[in-house]
């Protein structure tokens, strides 16, 4: 446990000492700010329209702002995850520092969990920026806070799974770019898998669509915790971390 924290703190440090973390946070803040401004503007426009026509239109901050924004967040995350995870192991392999970690009295599992946790924490700090925008909704409106929290829980679970996949891919190469590109490809594929259910209903298509990471987020965006989605994300995280451990082991046999 202590060793895991040592690794985690070291990773967080290197995120925040290099421009990586600031670049990610800035990009995310700008992009999310734009989304927020956009959907808020549209919401206000709809409100004015309803007043002009003088018909009572149901307006709901949760349904019309928070839910689409959460869905956006889950997609935007896919683009940031490769940048967060690509260096985790690839960089250590390139510079040879992996030898220091592996020959220290610390278990592989602690190295992996520490690195993964650092990635999750960086993702969380990105999400904090989006939280700032939501504060305004509470200041000037009266949305329900429970669906928002559940949405964030879903985002966290989803990111945990994808970050674990990215961590695994990073152990496969010593080239960060390759690790990043491959992770990006996998993330993108896991997003669009769901589209298959649009035209095909056979079992294979349902299985394929089941692996779509985004599809499992929908209930969270609605403010519902569905056990089967939680199980999906958690088991994907565990599986990817397990593969990471195996990969680290085989790295030694091969190198």
């Amino acid at each position: 446990m202590r060793n895991m924290w040592i690794i985690c703190r070291k990773e967080l440090r290197s995120y925040f000492v290099s421009p990586v973390a600031y670049l990610l946070l800035t990009m995310f803040a700008v992009i999310f700010g734009f989304f927020f401004w956009n959907s808020l503007g549209y919401f206000i426009f709809m409100g004015m329209e309803a007043q002009l026509r003088d018909e009572p239109t149901p307006m709901n901050v949760n349904e019309q702002i928070i839910r689409p924004l959460l869905a956006n967040l889950s997609v935007v995350g896919l683009f940031f995850i490769p940048i967060i995870t690509m260096r985790l192991f690839a960089e250590e392999k390139r510079t040879g520092t992996i030898e220091l970690l592996v020959t220290s009295p610390i278990r592989d599992g602690e190295i992996i969990l520490g690195k993964w946790l650092a990635a999750v924490l960086l993702y969380l700090s990105m999400m904090l920026f989006s939280g700032l925008s939501f504060v305004y909704l509470f200041r000037y409106g009266n949305p329900d806070w429970k669906p928002l929290l559940i949405g964030y829980l879903g985002l966290l679970l989803q990111a945990g799974a994808l970050l674990a996949v990215g961590t695994f891919i990073s152990t496969l190469t010593r080239n960060q770019i390759i690790a990043g590109a491959a992770t990006f490809g996998v993330c993108l594929l896991l997003w669009v898998l769901e589209w298959v259910s649009g035209f095909e209903t056979a079992t294979w298509a349902r299985v394929l669509a089941y692996f779509s990471v985004i599809a499992h987020f929908e209930s969270f965006a609605k403010g519902l915790i569905d056990t089967k989605d939680v199980v999906f994300y958690l088991s994907m995280t565990l599986l990817a971390l397990f593969f990471t451990a195996r990969s680290m082991e085989s790295m030694r046999w091969r190198s």
Partner: protein, 331 residues
């Protein structure tokens, strides 16, 4: 302190290390000598639990590398060929991180950091990021990292590679000063390094252990006798080289006389003996009785170079014909 038994590492197509067995006693400095690609790094990586052996095993400080890797790692300080530095960390942050990784904390950690900074002489760069250090400093920080947890065993992979002569000397004396507290294995392909730094030597070639002995014994063994450097002068005019050669060759036990260099009135000769008897006193007497001046007489430490070439050559094809030196005589 270290016992390797039948340590083997096979890859798909080749065998990097083939059944190496050796023992290292506590407090000794052992040189791991061999040409590039002989399997030195692979062997060291197996001892540090970085690579699992294909067959065989080893114990370090009484712990088996396969059964108790964590205990072994706790007792080993390892400096890989490239010092494992994080370029964005400052030296003191780096030492702090490694110290914690090795299980140190609190006042003990601070004390050890001060100690290794002092010991490795890196005080003036401790606020710098490691990415900006010169090669010599990087190596020293690497060494500081290896000794931070006061390990029983130090494993150093080519600790002087790429350093300038002054840094090489500093590093060697640092390593020598660490012996006693630590048992040290260092690998190198530079022969004088072994002579200057190590007490014992393991010669490895193509994954096999070719020789293991103390440096002195190895020298003695390969030569089968003693080697003496002699400087002779004459009080009256130039010396007749042929006469000197004849006289020296007559001394009991001398097997070979070679002139290295000669000036007008001085002759420098290298003399080898074949037997176990020391020939130095006989040589001195012969020179003085002939009426010459004896300027210098000392046992030359045989260069390991020849031993090494001889041993690694025995492994491969028949030895190439020795170059005929015109000044040699073989009685």
């Amino acid at each position: 302190m270290i016992t390797a038994t039948g340590l083997t590492k096979r890859y798909a197509r080749n065998t990097a290390v083939d059944q190496i067995s050796f023992q290292v006693r506590k407090g000794r400095i052992v040189g791991f000598l061999g040409p590039n690609g002989a399997g030195k790094t692979t062997t060291m990586r197996m001892l540090t639990c970085f690579l699992p052996p294909t067959a065989g095993t080893a114990t370090v400080a009484g712990f088996d590398i396969l059964e108790h890797p964590l205990e072994v790692k706790r007792r080993i300080g390892y400096l890989p060929e490239l010092p494992p530095l994080y370029p964005e960390m400052r030296v003191d942050e780096y030492l702090n991180f490694v110290g914690k990784l090795k299980g140190l904390s609190g006042p003990r950690l601070r004390e050890r950091i001060e100690y290794v900074v002092e010991r490795c002489n890196i005080g003036d760069v401790r606020r710098k990021t490691t990415g900006k250090l010169s090669k010599g400093y990087r190596q020293r920080v690497g060494l500081a990292q290896a000794i931070i947890h006061n390990p029983d065993v130090l494993i150093l992979d080519e600790p002087t590679a790429g350093l300038d002569p002054k840094q090489i000397n500093e590093t060697r004396s640092l390593i020598r000063s660490l012996a006693g507290d630590h048992t040290i294995i260092l690998s190198t392909h530079i022969l004088p390094e072994v002579e200057q730094t190590c007490q014992e030597v393991l010669i490895i070639n193509r994954g096999r252990l070719v020789a293991t002995d103390s440096v002195e014994n190895l020298q003695h063994r390969a030569r089968g006798g003693e080697s003496v450097l002699l400087e002779v002068g004459s009080p009256n005019g130039p010396l007749d080289r042929a006469a000197v050669e004849r006289r020296l060759a007559r001394v009991n036990g001398v097997s070979r006389v070679a002139f290295r260099d000669s000036r007008q009135d001085r002759i420098f000769a290298e003399i080898e003996s074949s037997g176990d008897r020391s020939i130095r006193s006989d040589l001195a007497r012969a020179v003085v009785e002939a009426g010459w001046e004896l300027h210098e007489l000392r046992a030359s430490a045989m260069s390991l170079e020849e031993i090494f070439l001889q041993l690694t050559r025995e492994e491969s094809a028949p030895p190439p014909a020795e170059e005929a030196a015109p000044q040699e005589t073989r009685p």
